[in-house]
């Protein structure tokens, strides 16, 4: 299967690079996201990951996944370990690693186990304290080796930073290629292993993961109007959540997965409703005749944040469910939209318009302090990583849609782009169980 870009790039390339042409012709139809780091944390932990021992090809693949994950997180500085051969069974010479300025060291191996499975083992050490920090033994089928690598990176990340890692999580996003091809993709958090969950000739927007990670809800325009579907990823089974007269949009799961907050226009205007996760029992919230949309639940499920133009410009408000009291949250500027609350409930990510540009901002909900995190022109659709450390957004670079992951302090920035099309509408999935 040849990627369409072959015919576009082919002519110009023949003269100067046969290799590039060969590479293109071998690239599969579904191009993967490539990640580029554009910033790093202030105090990165120096860490040595030695080449895993055992079965050489698998070990090399596994080591590169672990290193890649930790490196891209912007939280670690990877030390050179070339020429050093050790496994989880080797006792480290702590003074040597201290001289190399390592704070932590991980070593491991991959061996062929029973039934064609692979067994990966590793051990993590604290160099300053000269103690092991623990390790794991994982068995994996050969095609799940990347997943084992993400598990190991998660373990190391959590031991050294005190927060769970998100390398084993998945992301969803929409790729638009050409005038009328939209694909809802599910990929690993490092952009690899992308699979299409939905292919359509009409737009797909606002994907949102069920809390258990088994389903996505989204808005599809395949019926010439916005309709909300819930889509089971493994089976591909879809049910209509909302296909009422008018528009159906902006679905957001309640944290318990039983209900969704949605925006319906069936009673005129755009109003927020609660609806059961099987599409039954739609119930309107509030009586404002203004625009009310983009609902988002707080982690305790008790409060909804949303966007409304009731004050004359789009601003973010919140409403405790069961109460008629609505509180305005944003005041700076005349365009503040797309509220998302962090998993710990303390921070709100949103999009703010500053000097004509749309930028990702965060608000500390206790102090109401706002920090604008980017200097882009077209940020959209923020989504927190399940550990709350990074925010995934859609933005535009050179007129093309890309995804960007930005740390909540704005220091670390990763850009995820796909050569074959426009990437947009990201949603970071929950921890995998």
């Amino acid at each position: 299967m040849l990627r369409p870009s072959l015919s576009l790039h082919g002519l110009g390339l023949i003269a100067n690079s046969v290799l590039a042409l060969l590479f293109l012709s071998l690239t599969p139809a579904r191009a993967e996201l490539t990640i580029e780091i554009t910033g790093a944390g202030a105090n990165r932990i120096p860490i040595a990951i030695t080449d895993f021992g055992g079965d050489l090809a698998s070990a090399r693949a596994l080591t590169s996944v672990v290193r890649g994950d930790l490196d891209r997180s912007g939280m670690f500085r990877m030390l050179d370990t070339s020429g050093i051969s050790m496994t989880e069974k080797t006792s480290p010479v702590f003074d040597d690693w201290k001289n190399r300025e390592a704070d932590a060291l991980a070593a491991g191996s991959v061996q062929a186990g029973s039934g064609g499975r692979l067994e990966a083992r590793f051990q993590l050490y604290d160099i300053a304290r000269q103690t092991p920090l623990g390790g794991e033994a994982l068995t994996s089928s050969p095609n799940m080796l990347r997943a084992a690598g993400h598990r190991i990176a998660d373990f190391i990340y959590e031991k050294l930073t005190g927060e769970p890692g998100v390398f084993s999580t998945r992301i969803a996003y929409v790729v638009k290629s050409g005038a009328a091809r939209y694909e809802l993709h599910i990929a690993d958090a490092d952009g690899q292993n992308a699979q299409a969950a939905l292919v359509s000739r009409e737009p797909i927007i606002s994907p949102s993961w069920s809390p258990d990670g088994s389903r996505l809800v989204y808005v599809s325009f395949e019926n010439k109007k916005p309709v909300i579907y819930a889509h089971s990823l493994v089976s591909g089974q879809r049910i209509v959540i909302a296909n009422f007269k008018g528009s159906n949009s902006a679905p957001a799961w309640s944290p318990d997965g039983r209900r969704l907050a949605v925006t319906l226009s069936k009673e005129g205007g755009s109003q927020i409703f609660l609806i059961n996760s099987d599409g039954s029992g739609a119930q309107r919230l509030g009586n404002s005749s203004s625009i009310n949309t983009e609902p988002f639940f707080t982690p305790d499920g008790q409060t909804l944040y949303f966007t409304s133009d009731r004050g004359g410009s789009p601003q973010i408000y919140c409403n405790r469910l069961g109460s008629s009291d609505v509180q305005r949250i944003t005041f700076e500027g005349n365009y503040n939209v797309s509220p998302r609350i962090s998993p710990d409930g303390k921070t709100m990510a949103f999009i703010t318009r500053r000097e004509g540009s749309y930028r990702l901002a965060v608000m500390d909900l206790a102090s109401r302090q706002v920090q604008v995190l980017t200097d882009s022109t077209k940020d959209e659709s923020p989504s927190f990583a399940p550990n709350g450390r990074m925010i995934l957004i859609a933005t535009e670079v050179g007129g093309r849609g890309v995804l960007s992951a930005v740390s909540v302090d704005g220091r670390i920035k990763q850009r995820l782009s796909i050569s074959a099309g426009d990437v947009r509408e990201p949603a970071w999935g929950p921890y995998r169980r």
Binding site: M1, P28, A29, E32, I186, Q192, A196, A197, L198, V199, S200, R201, E202, P203, I205, S206, S220, F221, E222, N223, K224, K225, P226, Y229, L233, V234, S235, G236, R238, I239, V240, A242, N243, F244, K245, G246, S247, S249, A250, T263, S265, K266, G268, G269, S270, G279, G281, A282, I291, T293, T307, P314, V337, S338, R353, Y358, E380, S381, G399, E425
Partner: protein
Amino acid sequence: MKRFIIPTLLVLLMAGCSSTPDAEQDAAPVDSRSTSGGDVATVTANGVDSRRLPPELTDPRSILSRRSIYFDYDKFDIRPEYRDLVTAHAKFLTNNRQFRMLIQGNTDDRGSREYNLALGQKRADAIKKQLVLLGAREEQVESVSLGEEKPKNLGQNEAAWSENRRGDLLYSGEF
């Protein structure tokens, strides 16, 4: 990474009431699915087929062939130049009660997709209100929004944006 897609399974799901628990809602989609060997099955969404329309709705000499109403930036009121157009469509709907109309509101692409969907809804609602006022029946007309998703002009300048701030009128058979 390997990505050879082998459709091992093709399931056609009949649209039925069973999957939509609410009578107020329309039916479920007809999907085709394939599995690619991974843990995500790929669904292909099917579009909608069009039917033939009477010539007075499509003849370029007929005012009823004009189906777009343009709006000013951040505005939702119908400009006076569209009064005759709206009146003609209201009259057609009054004289042809068997016809249904779908009004699709659109916006330019600046700002949030979901907020733009709400803005497009406001434009579609404004057109619907005028049509009903002039004789169309409430149940004949559905106003929906495509937000910024279906721009007529992909440019990033005021001329392009003004083409995208519009409501489109579609008759039964066109949606």
